[in-house]
């Protein structure tokens, strides 16, 4: 058989296998979504609202030059109907007027720093407490990145749980209450994530999404479809306890556990890294655990609407994925780490991290074959069908399941636009994302020296945690 045959077989097999895995996760995920939807319908959240003995939950909002959205975010949290909450805003060395805006809006007064730094962070300059909302604390610290800011907030409180929230993310009040129960009822739950939706195009009144709508701009519209697909994949991974990420925009964690594992790490994909580290540690310590990803669409985030911002985000995300895999490469294909070692992380590596490389080589091959006249049309149509066609079909099925359950896009206009965008996505936008992700690869290799250093720091954290863990 000719070498062309083997190359074509490789590309077809790669996309075929990845698609089959996606399909399996979609089927598994849809059952999860349906069950959760029924649970939400069945459960009476008023019992929770009336409760006088629920635990305090800390909302951590790291902010770095976030003056545009920051106030609406804080009002959104303060007005959540869950009563037992504390809010810590961490000003991570903003260079704009973020700090001044927040200080003025909530009448912050400087207070003594009365806690010890259990996790190392950049220097804390000042600690403030709001006079109007006494459970609202502001920490002003030197710039150290998002992970450093979250660690600074963890140091400052003793609440059993904390929620990490991006400064441009707002929450649904009703939905948040329903999310507490899954965290509380099982001691095995070590992290809870939830479905994130895009706020662009939605009606927002009094810092709450009142009517969900589909984004009007091109890039946010494309991202809305991507988010929908990603969410079903994670739901499927949930069922085999192999979820490798709880979105940085919204996640709930037990504070004590995060303290024990050494807090967040200074890496580009800190949200994925902490989850993979938790998987790794729990497996090494032979402890039962669950990382939950719930389909409840409770968090709404601002999607970048310009080319530059989106490209920056995607390059960063892809570099984050690669760095995280690098940090935890010993878990990869290692049956000792169970389903996560042989399924979750390998899928992240092969199905997501290397996907742009394979796809670009596939199209380079098609180009060369066409130029030299040996392009097999059957192969060409097949590759179009299993890469572009499958993505469109997959998105449609996701949309269908979404429609059967939570139905967050109620208007017919939203549905029609979503349907149309689904086809447009493959022409232009898909190629752009491949380019950005390839740039992420370049960035990763460019910074490999620093990544190696961070890998050693993470390994030390893992070892220290294992040594200190009570027998």
């Amino acid at each position: 058989m000719s070498w062309q045959f083997w190359i074509e077989l490789f590309f077809l097999a790669y996309f075929g296998v990845v698609n089959v895995v996606y399909l399996i996760f979609l089927i598994l995920g849809s059952f999860q979504v349906y069950k959760r939807f029924n649970q939400v319908q069945e459960e009476d959240a008023t019992l929770l609202l009336k409760s006088n003995s629920l635990p305090e939950i800390l909302f951590v909002v790291p902010m770095h030059n976030e003056s545009a959205n920051i106030l609406s975010n804080f009002w959104n949290i303060i007005k959540l109907s869950y009563r037992y909450k504390k809010v810590i805003a961490v000003n991570d060395g903003s260079t704009d007027d973020t700090l001044d805006i927040v200080l003025k809006a909530f009448e912050f007064i400087e207070i003594p720093k009365v806690y010890n730094d259990l996790l190392p962070t950049q220097a804390v300059k000042k600690v403030y407490r709001s006079k109007t909302y006494p459970d609202f604390i502001l920490i002003d610290k030197e710039n150290g990145g998002k992970a450093d800011a979250v660690n600074a907030a963890i140091n400052a409180v003793t609440t059993p749980f904390f929620v990490v929230l991006d400064a441009d993310t707002i929450l649904d009040s009703d939905g948040f209450e329903k999310l507490i129960r899954p965290m509380l009822v099982s001691s095995k739950t070590i992290a809870v994530g939830s479905c994130i939706r895009i706020i662009n195009g939605c009606n927002v009144e009094y810092n709450r999404v009142t009517t969900a709508g589909f984004p009007n701009e091109f890039f946010p519209a494309m991202q809305a479809i991507e988010y929908l697909r990603a969410f079903f994949l994670r739901e499927g991974l949930n069922l085999v306890n192999s979820n490798y990420i709880v979105s940085g925009a919204f996640g709930i964690f037990p504070r004590d556990l995060i303290l024990r594992v050494g807090g967040y790490s200074e890496t580009v994909g800190e949200d994925a890294e902490i989850i993979i580290r938790l998987h790794r540690l729990m497996k090494e310590l032979k402890l039962p655990y669950e990382v939950k990803y719930l389909p409840d669409p409770i968090a709404w985030t601002v999607a970048p609407s310009g080319y530059k911002a989106l490209s920056k985000q995607r390059v960063r995300w892809h570099r984050g994925i690669l760095e995280t895999i690098w940090h935890h490469k010993r878990v990869l294909f290692n049956p000792w780490y169970g389903g996560f070692g042989v399924l979750g992380l390998p899928f992240l590596t092969i199905g997501e991290a290397f996907e742009p490389v394979v796809e670009i080589f596939a199209w380079i091959y098609v180009g060369i074959a066409f130029y030299y006249g040996f392009l097999d049309l059957e192969f060409f149509y097949l590759i179009i069908a299993i890469s572009f066609g499958f993505t469109s079909l997959y998105s449609m099925v996701c949309l269908f399941i979404e429609e059967m359950t939570f139905r967050k896009y109620p208007s017919l206009r939203s549905l029609t636009v979503l349907f149309l965008c689904n086809f447009v996505e493959n022409i232009g936008y898909r190629q752009m994302t491949i380019y950005w992700r390839l740039k992420g690869f370049v960035d990763f290799f460019w910074n490999l020296k620093g990544t190696r250093k961070e890998t050693i720091a993470i390994r030390d954290k893992v070892n220290a945690c294992k040594a200190d863990w009570p027998k």
Binding site: N38, Q39, E42, E43, D44, T46, L47, S51, N52, S53, L54, P55, I109, I111, P112, V114, Y115, R129, K131, P134, P160, R181, M183, L184, V185, S186, S187, K188, T189, S392, L393, M396, V397, L399, F400, E403, M404, R407, L415, F419
Partner: protein, 322 residues
């Protein structure tokens, strides 16, 4: 792809019509209940306009009313409606494989529990689904079931994680029927801390016989829970215990005692309070400063005389925030 679009549209139409129907049914049932309440009648006195198959809608309406109305007539109405139209399904579905049916069953029991169903409720408290276990526990506790309360206390004491928040809450929803039994179970050492935890969250009008013993327990956790109870409940020699607690090594006990002495004239404790302002623990410093602020002019003088260090921080803090 086209068939998916057709399915989506078909689903929209069906869901819309089902929602409308369900709303109409709930309105009919709500109107009927309003009529019963206005005319002060029981369901047997007025014909029910609904149908037997409207059970889910009926349960939802009953749950809605139950949140808002607490009078005796309502208790009678919901009991009779439940026994006429719901309890048959609740008993039939209690051990079904589908969790939604079991959940329905538990919710019916929670709305109006009957003594003859105690066994079922207690059994349902072991359901693997929390969404079933929770209303079943509420039902058993509402009924005042001894086995149900024991199970809830056992879960608070032994189940890992934060599930105890839910059980504690359920026990506190019906404090009068729960109190005597909690006191009884507190004699069991394995349930003692759970009982104290429940008792420490509210004020009881009746005496707690073992409180004095627990205030002197060698276990600091038990002691601090007992001091929390002492804060909310009056006993003989209460002040003496608070006085003693001011010198306790445990942070929880000391903080509760600092709060406790504020209910009495504080002049004799100014020395201790000033000393506590320099404690290495922030909650103790903060409680001492708060107590001094409550003491009035004299206390404020002490707070204002703090010029530097830990005591100065605490003094400044309470003056701004409390």
């Amino acid at each position: 792809m086209v068939s998916l679009c057709v399915l989506i549209i078909a689903h929209r139409i069906t869901a819309h019509s089902m929602n409308r129907k369900s709303k109409e049914r709930r309105k009919i049932i709500s109107d009927y209940i309003f009529q019963l309440l206005q005319e002060r009648k029981l369901p047997g006195d007025l014909p029910y306009p609904g149908k037997k198959k409207w059970k889910r809608e009926l349960l939802k309406v009953l749950e809605g009313f139950d949140l808002k109305i607490k009078e005796e007539l309502w208790e009678g109405i919901k009991k009779e409606m439940s026994s006429l139209y719901l309890i048959y399904f609740a008993r039939k579905w209690q051990s079904k494989g589908a969790w939604r049916k079991r959940s329905f069953s538990a919710r019916v029991f929670a709305i109006a529990p009957f003594v003859e169903d105690e066994e079922i409720m207690v059994k349902m408290m072991n359901d693997p689904e929390f969404i079933v276990k929770n209303p079943a526990s509420l039902a058993a506790i509402r009924l005042g079931s001894e086995r149900g309360i024991h199970k809830a206390l056992y879960a608070i004491a032994h189940e890992e994680g934060y599930i105890h928040f839910f059980y504690q809450d359920l026990l506190l929803q019906n404090p009068s029927s729960v109190f005597e039994k909690v006191l009884e179970f507190a004699k069991d050492p394995s349930l003692m801390s759970a009982c104290l935890q429940v008792l420490s969250t509210t004020t009881w009008s009746k005496p707690i016989p073992f409180l004095k013993d627990t205030l002197e327990s060698p276990d600091p956790f038990i002691r601090s829970l007992a001091y929390k109870i002492l804060l909310r409940n009056e006993i003989q020699d209460r002040l003496a215990f608070f006085e003693k607690g001011l010198s306790d090594a445990d942070e929880g006990v000391k903080t509760a005692s600092l709060e406790g002495i504020t209910y009495y004239p504080m002049e004799p404790y100014f020395g201790k309070l000033t000393e506590s302002l320099k404690d290495s623990s922030w909650p103790i410093r903060y409680a001492a400063a708060k107590a001094l602020k409550k003491a009035g002019e004299e206390g404020m003088k002490i707070l204002n005389s703090q010029k530097e260090g830990l005591s100065f921080q605490a003094a400044q803090y309470v003056q701004v925030f409390d």
